[in-house]
Amino acid sequence: MSPERTGNTALAELTASAETPTPDPKAALRRRRATVWAVRVLLVVLWLGSWELTVTYWIDPFFYSKPSLVFAKLVEWFTAGTSQGSIWENILVTLQESVSGFALGALAGIVLGILLGRSHLLADICAPFIKAANAVPRIVLAALFVIWFGLGMSSKIATAFVLVFFAVFFNAFQGAREVDRNLVNNARILGASRAQVLTTIVVPSATSWILASLHSAFGFALIGAVVGEFTGADRGLGLLINRAQGMFDAAGIYAGMIVITVLALVAEAVLTWLENRLLRWRPSTVSTDPQI
């Protein structure tokens, strides 16, 4: 065993020195990553290019703006600031609202989802209420929240919360139901209390379910914050977009959307990192997974 156990570099070395036609997996990975990025960049360039061209030559930039204008708007925001203060301040406000809403909503969704997922009686009783609540339009709720919680941050957090909560809840619920009964039985036999079954079997089993929902949930949290800001606010990216709408400033609308999108991608990167850490025990599927 020991001679083979020389860390991560060993594999590359072994395969490199072997002088067989087997491809070097590290180089393959590098190549692959390069391809992926190239295609991505190409797509973005294509998209922006065709947008710019069509708007310049064919259609009316009044509605569709164009990338160069949007870019100019972004530059203006980040250098000269916006009509409602520094762009960073607005970003910070929206981010604070959505992160809080996300954290609270995800926590509540996970806890409640897992509890109801494991208790059939509770689930039977509560299910219709939760499903009904899920159908309440958030835009109406946002208005109610402004009335209940005021114009401050809390009403936006509440809006983000309800959006995140339901997205996470349904997955946590199903994830808790899908747990392999064999594993639960084994744990019980090994002496696990109910709480221990929950924490050591149900939660890890439901992890991939929960993580899947978290991927969309941060986007929802951002949306919640923006909807809240649309309903009533004094700062934030949502208000910035709303102002642009009011002033027929299409470039401003798109610029605001881009800023929000970038926020979402950053959050996504954090989540992916977390996912890779939490699901380390999985067989890696990169190289040998059958494509489709």
Partner: protein
């Protein structure tokens, strides 16, 4: 037998079968296992052996009849029980070491103590060096041995084992059998050991129970009055052993033939 540890009294277990029918897996089963007794259970495949174990373990309630462990009716999982499933149920997200340490952790050991204990058991089942592997990185036989260590580390006073050694090569199996006997001999634990290997059954057990074809009930019970401690490999060639073996074999063969016939009838 006075003061049995495990007692099934007319236990019946029915399942909802396919297309809404009812499938009786175990019918009117009466069986007792005494303190420190090693009972091997053999029977045709699909007769209801695993179901019987799940009744004893408290994982499934009987449809009728009574199941008692240490004199009390089974509600939930009785204390001191260890059950090694037919399909290994190791936790995929835990390394070998942490899988084996699960039992002690559940029962309140500190992490360090549990790991220490687990390390010993990982070695005893021949997996030293694989402590940090995840189950998907192990072979079938290795996973089975993780499950074995996971069960034994708890030092159960009632041990239910469902084909524990079926995925092991002959030699490893012999080693594990010896290990099991060695461990068991001191403890006074009651063992119910399901196996398809008659040699194994006769070599290890105080008593071999032969089950009928589905639905299962006890067809016959054979005492194996071979002296202990036993050396499994040597024992195998003694005439007493062969006699016992023949006896059990005849009984079982009849049952299996019956089950075959029935299935043939169903086709017709």
């Amino acid at each position: 037998m006075d003061d049995p540890v495990i007692e099934l009294r007319g236990a019946t277990k029915r399942f909802r079968g396919a297309t809404g029918g009812v499938h009786t897996a175990v019918r009117d089963l009466t069986l007792s296992v005494g303190r420190g007794e090693f009972v091997a259970v053999v029977g045709p495949t699909g007769c209801g052996k695993s179901t019987t174990l799940s009744l004893v373990s408290g994982l499934e309630p009987p449809s009728e009849g009574e199941v008692l462990v240490t004199g009390r009716p089974v509600r939930g999982i009785p204390d001191g029980i260890g059950y090694m499933f037919q399909n290994d149920a190791v936790l995929p997200w835990r390394s070998v070491l942490d899988n084996v340490a699960a039992g002690p952790r559940y029962r309140g050991s500190s992490r360090a103590a549990a790991r220490e204990k687990a390390r010993g058991w990982v070695g005893r089942v021949g997996l030293a060096g694989f402590e940090k592997y995840y189950p998907h990185q192990l072979s079938g036989g290795m996973r089975k041995r993780v499950a074995l260590a996971q069960t034994l580390v708890n030092e159960p006073s009632i041990l239910l084992m469902d084909e524990p050694f079926s995925a092991l090569d002959v030699q490893t199996r012999a080693l594990m059998q010896d290990e099991l006997l060695r461990l068991w001999s001191g403890t006074g634990a009651a063992v119910v050991f399901v196996t398809h290997d008659l040699e194994e059954a006769v070599a290890l057990a105080d008593r071999v129970v032969v089950m009928t074809a589905s639905p299962a009930t006890v067809k016959a019970s054979f005492d194996i009055p071979l002296p202990r401690p036993r050396d499994v490999e040597e024992l195998r060639l003694t005439p007493e052993f062969l006699d016992r073996y023949r006896e059990v074999w005849d009984s079982l063969r009849e049952e299996v033939a019956k089950s075959r016939e029935r299935s043939a009838q169903r086709v017709a």
